[in-house]
Symmetry: C2
Subunit: 295 residues, 2 copies
Amino acid sequence: MLVQEYFKTRKVLIEEALETYLPPSDLYPENLHSAMRYAVFSGGKRLRPILFFAAYEMLLGKKNINRLERLLPVACALEMVHTASLIHDDLPSVDNSEERRGQPSCHIKFGEATAILAGDALLTKAFEVLTEIRNRKIALDCIQILTRAISTRGMIGGQAVDILSVKKKINLNTLRYIHLKKTGALLQAAMELACAANEAEENITITLGNFALNLGLAYQIVDDILDEVGSFDILGKEPGEDNRNNKATYSNLMGLEKSKKTAEKLLRDSYNLIKNMNNNDILVEFINMIKDRLP
Amino acid sequence: MLVQEYFKTRKVLIEEALETYLPPSDLYPENLHSAMRYAVFSGGKRLRPILFFAAYEMLLGKKNINRLERLLPVACALEMVHTASLIHDDLPSVDNSEERRGQPSCHIKFGEATAILAGDALLTKAFEVLTEIRNRKIALDCIQILTRAISTRGMIGGQAVDILSVKKKINLNTLRYIHLKKTGALLQAAMELACAANEAEENITITLGNFALNLGLAYQIVDDILDEVGSFDILGKEPGEDNRNNKATYSNLMGLEKSKKTAEKLLRDSYNLIKNMNNNDILVEFINMIKDRLP
């Protein structure tokens, strides 16, 4: 199967499931349900659930869309948690982003209070859909993996350090912590969930988790570089935002050239972790996608 | 056992467990963990987890504190969810409450961004601790019950309607909806969780759920009445706040006398639902506690 075809079919599968899981916009209270749907269906690339499926199918040894239906709760839970975090991150008291993917952020469109509640509701919905997994051991493993990834030792911890670091001089270790937790933890969870669903051995789980952490960090560094030297077209948003917001970036802290070398090394490390695995073509494609964004 | 003794011992048990579950304040990121602990250990009465234990022990037919240890995740999850909802409700864009239990609200003390994240982290922690329950069926049932109670058909739905109703004329049905969802859903969940932990029959679950919904509604009506005619000492906060915030209340919509009669009827209905159950003494005490607040 062509890589583009893979991404397209899995995205359709995930979006159809999200459509089914989320309460309809015309259900009372309408504004809350509309806010949830607005945030979820605003053009996301569904990278986390696709990454989850890619790892799961690699471990399964075949790409068969019929086998994936029963794991849609896991894929959708990842996307719901990611969306909840974006809604809360965009709030005025957090990152104060009025736009997301070229559209008004959830709180601009629906008001702050409803946006806070929509985030809470999506976070809760993620756990609700995970209880639908038939195999009880797998369901509980998935819930445990996801709570850990979201927790103060994961995504929320990274975001907490991030908001305290604005307008402060931070060092490279702190910036690395922020990215590993804020972005990396959920990507790592996508891998761990794929392993749990496949009842994979622990060493595979650790290897794939590290693959995702390297990948996530590389993605952030490339994002930092593009914010410095990229254009609106490549970045999908106005460049220079990090500097305007006084955010520490890799390119600020270590310079453009060394940032680029660090990203390349992380991508090489990612590749080395999975290069001997069979059916790794989609995971390799994730590495290439990030490499292709490097200027 | 004396009723006061019961409340005291169960409260100690719950607070010791919360102490263990929550990350220490000096763990990085400290401000986030401090905010979570500040909100959880700010003098809450632990009514929801105590109500859960009371129903569980009634169904079990004995009050034996040793049997309760394995259900501490359920009791603590209820308190964590309740606290998360209070943190987010108090935010400036929601109810804008600068005080909670006579102390500065979480966002006043730690800033809005950290308060939002602390709420998210407590919500997530609730599900994390529920995965610790040994019996997998009971663990998944509990997670499902709690997600439903929090969801847009429960607590969050009630809060969403509440924030849209401020400064608007709403009717009694809408006010009833707000209270049944915003307060009632989590009390009902406390009963359903007790039933799930005891693998009780469905008719018991429905009866105890209705008991809790009536109890919650009665509590809210009494609160509305006290906000009108009560003193700071009885209410634990400055009376008249609802009127100052243009909030619809039962006493506004149906008058003091009829509000009082409605509360009394709800408490009678609550009692009738459980009067024939053995060992119902603590549940009956919850009814009496509300009755005693009536002026």
